[in-house]
Symmetry: C2
């Protein structure tokens, strides 16, 4: 399985358009449309935040019906905490797009990301949404990936090819997110398209499993948002034999999907607001899966650990402290910690100055792995995190000004 990044390939039966509606300053792309020539089977995963933005209130039940033909997304405005008028606006967006595309309105998914609490610029949208429908082309996936950016510093696109009984198919995903990133679908949007023919039951299962092993194991700042969604659309244009759950082909499809989403997820962490490092936190030897996860999350979200990464300081004391307060079972005399392959803690105590200096060299890299072996059992977990920098504070103190 080979994942290609930031290369906008065509994908059979899908078209794209993006435009600048004026929400974002200086004519940036801020409105995008993804369209499938035929109604696609779809699956979705949505924020766990109890405050759900208007577009999610509208889209979630539609996606649950299983068919989707177009996705309308805007950046710059989340249409969240906007009450009944916000829901009317989301509905109007979907009406405008459905009318322009001449498709049933309930085949339309809408999605928004940006500032909370402000009304959508409907006057502008009345004009710009129909324009998108006129400008659909098969080679504009990259424009969509740009239009959904908010504080992202680069667009995020990943793809992969698969095959069923010699019939080739493709997977293409775009995502956005750079802050408010945390498991359970923190402010991030992801749209994944495939021209494969996929059994509806597998589609939802595949998306859930892939998200759990990609977007749900990354953190930038621990905040989850009101607007997150990941949609998977499968339009069958590749003409392959249907891929079904419980088969080798089905498992391969899940792996490919996970591969695409994990690549997008890692791009999100690399682009974490102000981030200069991508660290994989790997817990080994935990007493249970739950413990492994708890310990990984605790280390990955510790502000002290994240600032130490920024300072390129192999401060394992903060890591062991974060494991200690995670709630996971720990025996302080068994813990081992490595930075890449350099051991800094063995049986709970320091391996000495020389190895710590070597570990500091590891931290000078842009990407590295911190392994904590609890030596209590067989469970393990991975988690990806960024460092916490001056720039993070600057971006988030200034965001609306």
């Amino acid at each position: 399985m080979k994942i290609t990044t930031n290369q906008a390939e065509k994908i059979a039966g899908f078209k794209f358009a993006a435009g600048a509606s004026g929400i974002r300053k200086s004519g940036r792309l801020d409105l995008a449309l993804i369209y499938s020539e035929v109604p696609a089977r779809c699956a979705g995963v949505f924020t766990t935040n109890k405050i759900k933005a208007a577009p999610l209130q509208l889209t979630e039940p539609r996606v649950a019906e299983g068919l989707c033909q177009a996705v309308l997304v805007n950046s710059g405005n989340a249409n969240a905490c906007t009450g009944a008028p916000g829901l009317r606006d989301a509905k109007r967006c979907s009406e405008l797009a459905a009318a322009a595309l001449q498709i049933p309105e309930n085949y339309l998914a809408v999605s928004s990301t940006g500032v909370i609490g402000a009304p959508l610029p409907m006057d502008s949208f009345e004009k710009h949404i129909p324009l998108l429908a006129q400008n659909l082309t098969s080679d504009a996936a990259d424009a969509v990936s740009q239009a959904i950016m908010t504080t992202d510093s680069f667009a995020k696109l990943a793809s992969c090819r698969g095959e069923v009984a010699k019939a080739p198919y493709r997977l293409l995903g775009v995502a956005k997110g750079a802050g408010m990133i945390h498991p359970n679908m923190a402010t991030m949007l992801g749209f994944v398209l495939t021209d494969a023919q996929v059994e509806p039951a597998l589609l939802q299962e595949a998306l859930r499993r892939a998200v759990d092993n990609s977007f749900n194991i990354i953190t930038v700042d621990g905040d989850t948002s009101t607007n997150d969604m990941v949609l998977l659309l499968a339009n069958g244009a590749a003409g392959n034999r249907e891929i079904c759950s419980g088969t080798a082909e089905g498992e391969r499809f899940v792996e490919e999907l996970t591969g695409v989403l994990l690549e997008l997820a890692k791009m999100i962490v690399r682009d974490g607001e102000g981030a200069t490092k991508l660290a994989r936190i790997r817990i080994l030897g935990a007493a249970s899966d739950e413990d492994a996860k708890k310990a990984a999350v605790s280390v990955a979200t510790s502000s002290l650990v994240k600032t130490a990464f920024f300072g390129e300081d192999a401060n394992w004391g903060r890591i062991i402290a974060a494991v200690g307060y995670s709630g996971a079972e720990v025996d302080s005399e068994k813990v081992e910690i490595r930075f890449d392959d350099v051991p800094v803690v063995c049986q709970g105590i320091s391996t000495g100055q020389e190895l710590e200096e070597k570990a500091t060299e590891v931290l000078k890299q842009a990407e590295f792995t911190v392994t904590v072996d609890l030596a209590l059992g067989d469970a393990s977990a991975d988690y990806y995190t960024s460092d916490l920098t001056y720039e993070y504070v600057k971006i988030n103190a200034d965001y609306r000004t």
Copy 2:
């Protein structure tokens, strides 16, 4: 009840000494001794971190016995994750102090704070601990408050007077902590002394209740440490009638103790690493006490909320999002949010630009209250937090260098 801060009053039957052992650079005070002329009844609260530093392993069981006559504290070195040698060092510190003071060793509490994983400088301690015992005086509580500082920018001392049947008594507390501050006793030390005669059962109950409403409702960065402890010593030198649990006097004692600890706790948040703001997060109208607490913690620990405070941005969207992912029951159409007395959200939506500008003025103050009324029930909770600043990142990226 009047709480006095940063004024080192004498307290009957207690003596203090502080010295510079050389752990900290430039001759800063880093070693301190608190001594009671008679064995004092004592109570303690210790870190919930599963990785417990050596001094805690030694002190916790001793405090559980109920009597304590002296506390030896050092800053600059936590003696944590130091294995069997670390425990031997902690034991040796206690032997040295007990011998110098000529008291039973099990009446000695030891406490350390600072860098994790390095051995204590025992050569220096062999010389300096006996010196402390020679220099005890009744008016050096402020020197103790200075000697326990690590990244603290100011010393923290608070006191209060009480009375039982016309017999006056005093409460005097010192604390340290500026980072790794979070509920459940994050890297902070607190030592509270009273000359009152207090029933042993009340002593532990009072400390638990007071800590729950002071040190356990503050957060700076969400990290809890391996070394936290709060000790309460009551030596009875005031000669009052014993204060007992379940009496009006007992309740008053708990209130006074809570007042002293809350004042120390707020000083810790004000001194939060890099902090420029002290914000009280007040949740009202929650469906349950647990929900109120969850929502308060979630808002108080959100990096996005804390950076918005730093940016003096009345970004209520981040607050409502943090409530939404807290796990507390929320009805987005009922939520009200105020900055001091300025309403910015009513029934889940913005109250408009003008009030938001007024709220921005509130955020320009050094201290303010953010109230979130969930309008679902009667439960409430308070939480104190700081802003997240460039300086926080700087301090923690550079701490060991």
